[in-house]
Symmetry: C2
Subunit: 597 residues, 2 copies
């Protein structure tokens, strides 16, 4: 029986369905909500604390990991809670950081793989015809390639049930063998390696069903927040390069382990993996130096797809599985964008469509089935909350929405907690509000005199830097003239990029029929305010849609279908990359687009 669980996440509310008696921990992690509990939900570490209603009574072991005050406030360890009735779950402070967008709007792909289980009867070799097990199997199944890891299983598999075996074939290659004629599962893994977050999906390759998502912060983060600082670190030495590789590989292996434990399957049942990420992340995953990506003319070691063995890649899945990455377009338009384009359907549609993924770089593709152009704008991390005086990521304590009510300002804060800072969507709202209130002129200058009278006390000056107080507190959350300049740089770059693509395409911005926003920021942003500040063209407001984690969705499509994998290849080859630094008019457009309307 399914029980509904309402979840108040930092980004809003969600619902999940639990099975009666299931642990809340298992239900949340299945839903892609990582609780980052080192003990893996075994009631050791006390890290999976959540506030629930009704709270019930913690068990002895669980109670020992909670303070009496926490218990009084309705806190429980998710791993200690059995779901017996509908409940409301509030995620605490740092759990918010792990709520990573693992959802998307893509439809489920129909599996279309050469990978298939087949039953066979392997005739045993005889004294007169002493063929090896492998040779008998080759004759019986018509397979050619038997990887060493599968060869090792043959003698036992062929003899356990009188020659009856279930064989997993991929064309003329044997991927796995099990004794007996039994229904066998086959799972796949799709991974989106973001610079900041990593999301992994476990998929049933036979039905196409997504079983579970799991996510984590990219463990390379301690070596630099953005791709350039990771490249710098990787370039220090071979050992540094290997460290970054080990970090991401063991991170993904941790996600694999988590997914498999939750689904109670064995890792060697994962027979196919497709990974996407930006070009630098894919280089680091493969252990290939990304050094030249950071140096003009910005040439990566490879742009196309990779095919690796699990051994080569270091991923702990079935040893005869294939590990693929989707192709990149250029140094700053990676496989994640290719995947987002697939998820958006841009490449199969007649309509002129714009796919935008706003992160540290604003990467975008404009086009339709006939022609596609891409560029990457160095938007900077302002819209992710970096380089902003009170900036922070979209986690608990961040102001994520801002509205003016007369002289009052109403701020929405992620999580039921005091505001600690301002995340990207709140920043866009705040700037739009200042514009509408007249306190910000078209050049981006904060002008206390032009704002509502009631706001006068909100303005202060620190030298030549004017500061606007958004919300009282200790410390207060403020927005400075310098912060506004950062926003102008970011939105100017993105808007100019869109304009350059449209012109190169021979179109007007207004000709764009659909704007697909990929990624977390694109999902949570107030679209009207994004248009108000000129981040996106105002004319396109009603054509904007969020596609969620398009990179993950595209990876799953390619995971489930070789046709989709081929599509990624064709698509990446077809996209024409425009390097903005080489476009003469870009600088003028950039200056122009930094202005407000």
């Amino acid at each position: 029986m399914q029980i509904t669980i309402r979840i108040i996440t930092p980004q809003g509310q969600r619902q999940l369905q639990a099975v009666r008696g299931e642990s809340l921990y298992s239900c949340l992690t299945r839903g892609g909500i990582t609780l980052d509990a080192p003990c893996g939900g075994h009631c050791f570490c006390g890290k999976c604390k959540v506030q629930i209603e009704p709270a019930g009574t913690p068990g002895e072991q669980e109670a020992a990991l909670l303070t009496p005050q926490e218990i009084a406030q309705g806190y429980r360890l998710a791993c200690g809670v059995r779901v017996e009735q509908p409940m409301l779950v509030r995620l605490a402070q740092h759990q918010g950081e792990a709520v990573i967008l693992a959802e998307d709007t893509a439809e489920q792909t129909q599996p279309c793989l050469r990978l298939a289980w087949t039953y066979a009867q392997i005739p045993a070799g005889t004294i007169d015809e002493p063929l090896g097990d492998r040779e008998c199997l080759r004759q019986a199944l018509g397979v050619d390639l038997v990887p060493l890891s599968v060869l090792k299983k043959l003698p036992d598999a062929c003899r356990a049930d009188q020659g009856r075996v279930s064989a997993l074939l991929e064309g003329n290659r044997l991927v796995d063998i099990r004794p007996g004629h039994k229904e066998q599962p086959a799972y796949g893994l799709a991974v989106d390696i973001g610079t900041t977050t990593v999301v992994a999906y476990l998929v049933d390759l036979l039905t196409g069903r997504q079983l579970q998502a799991a996510s984590m912060m990219n463990p390379q983060k301690s070596y630099g927040d953005d791709v350039i600082s990771r490249i710098d670190y990787a370039s220090e030495s071979m050992a540094a390069m290997d460290t970054l590789r080990d970090k991401i590989v063991s991170g993904i292996n941790e996600l694999i382990g988590r997914l498999c434990r939750q689904q109670e399957i064995s890792e060697d049942r994962i027979y196919r993996a497709v990974l996407v990420g930006n070009t630098v992340m894919i280089h680091l995953l493969a252990g290939v130096s990304p050094l030249n990506i950071a140096r003009s003319p910005f040439i990566p070691a490879f742009t196309g797809a990779l095919c690796m063995s699990p051994q080569e890649s270091g991923l702990r899945i079935a040893p005869a599985a294939c590990v693929y990455t989707l192709p990149n377009v250029a140094s700053y338009v990676g496989a994640d964008i290719v995947a987002s384009v697939m998820a958006s359907g841009l490449d199969e549609d007649d309509k002129l469509t714009l796919v935008v993924d706003i992160g540290t770089n604003g990467e975008m593709v404009l086009g339709n089935r006939d022609r596609m152009l891409a560029c990457s704008t160095a938007a900077g991390p302002a819209l992710e909350g970096a380089h902003i005086s009170c900036g922070m990521g979209g986690v608990t304590g961040a102001i994520s929405s801002v509205r003016r009510l007369g002289d009052e300002i109403s701020c929405g804060v992620i999580g039921d907690t005091a505001a600690r800072g301002l995340c990207g969507s709140g920043l866009v709202d705040a700037v739009a509000m200042l514009l509408d209130a007249g306190a910000l002129d078209e050049t981006g200058r904060l002008d206390p005199d032009e704002g509502p009278d009631g706001w006068a006390s909100r303005f202060t000056c620190e030298g030549r830097n004017t500061i606007f107080k958004l919300m009282d507190g200790d410390p207060a959350v403020t927005l400075s003239q310098k912060d506004i300049r950062e926003v102008q740089l970011a939105k100017g770059a993105i808007a100019a990029g869109i304009e350059v693509l449209a012109r190169a395409y021979g179109a007007q911005v207004n000709d764009i029929k659909r704007v697909c926003l990929a990624g977390g920021f694109g999902n949570y942003i107030d679209r009207a305010n994004a248009c108000r500040i000129g981040l996106l063209p105002a004319a396109l407001l009603d054509r904007i849609e969020g596609i969620g984690n398009g990179a993950g969705a595209g990876a799953r499509m390619a995971l489930l279908s070789e046709k989709e994998q081929d599509r990624a290849e064709r698509l990446a080859g077809k996209i024409q990359y425009i390097e903005l630094s080489a476009v003469k008019e870009f600088q003028d457009l950039f200056m122009d687009k930094m202005m407000f309307e």
Copy 2:
């Protein structure tokens, strides 16, 4: 300038050519004489002790590792001796064990490989066409497959000399890349994994020249002397199986290291490896269970060839190299026999030829280019000195030849030392002598009364076991009635095997035009005496030739030529295996052939 070094080895004399100033250690190991010095010739371990003339004066470090007595007797450490003049080297006791037959009569194969270096100019990606390094290289060279290990080298290789690179291609696969247009070497590795000994050959793949051989005792020996005891051990657990695999892999890696140090080349310049061995050795190398080889109906996990990556096989050679094993015919006719057949030329000749490899099993192939039959006789290890009261291997202290001079018996002893026992060739000589002297009747009974009068004192009895003293000493070297029975079992099995093959072929033994003896025993045996005791058919005496280590020669042929590798495949597929235990007449023939003439 070349200096001649005469070497007294346990098996006789040899000569090697040294370069003036070279260390004696380096000269000996280059010549395939393993001194088993753990320090690798760096004057630490004192294990490479040899007796030389003239002895010269040891250096300080060297002298510290020798006793004054040893120095007085002319002992030196081979690693401390610089060769300045012709010298005579006597190998001490246990070094004899490492003198493994690495030589053969095969002609040098003309290299015929797809593997070839080519020069190319890789156009760099540009801002307008930001193709990855790999994609630029693919276009320039028309290659398709770029292994991950080579991809990692691309960014540097392409930029070190303005895009000029030397690329090693194998068809459409890139095997290595180096910056610049320079002549690049390419080496290959051939290995014969015997149950007792392992021999590795380093070959120049471009010229076909064999550069050096190195050998060692099979490090698996401590887990059992013969294949059956190794299978028993491997069947105990996965860990036991892995131990045997690790032993042989690290053994081969040690040989690779030794070969590369001697030739002053890097291991990652070895781009191709071909390994042979009996079916069990190949299973253990690949880490595949040989369990069913020991159980009727004796079906191995695989009979055909393997193709492994260096990563899979564990061999430390160029990471994009291919590691091949040659195909086996059946559980007891392995890739080593296939290689010996290639070396003998049996499969390309009209003449009816017999190839025999006498070890614990006597494996043999009879046929010509049209048809080939093979069998394996469980000859037992008597001819290797095992199961014989005074038996021993062909090492220092073994009586390797026996002749009668009137009432006297003259014994040749390996090494200038007291006789400790009897090796296979001495055993054959002794039995032949006893037969000729009439002291042994046709049923194999030792009869003191029928021998020369002067021999009376040589006979004693222990219960019902008559004992014949071959040589005085402490203890004396003797041959017992039981020993004779062991020889009868061995020679009966081999002779019956030859007879079965001939009959199955529809031929008379006398129709055989050529007998090729492969392996050490076949090389050192007195052929007339082997015929005298009925081990080999007397009618064929003048058609017997020793081909040396045919297995190693065949492996080198396949290493140097894909045509030869294909030939091994065809040949193995063509050989019809006859399981003697399933041949009705075998038992009768066996009983018959146990008799003497």
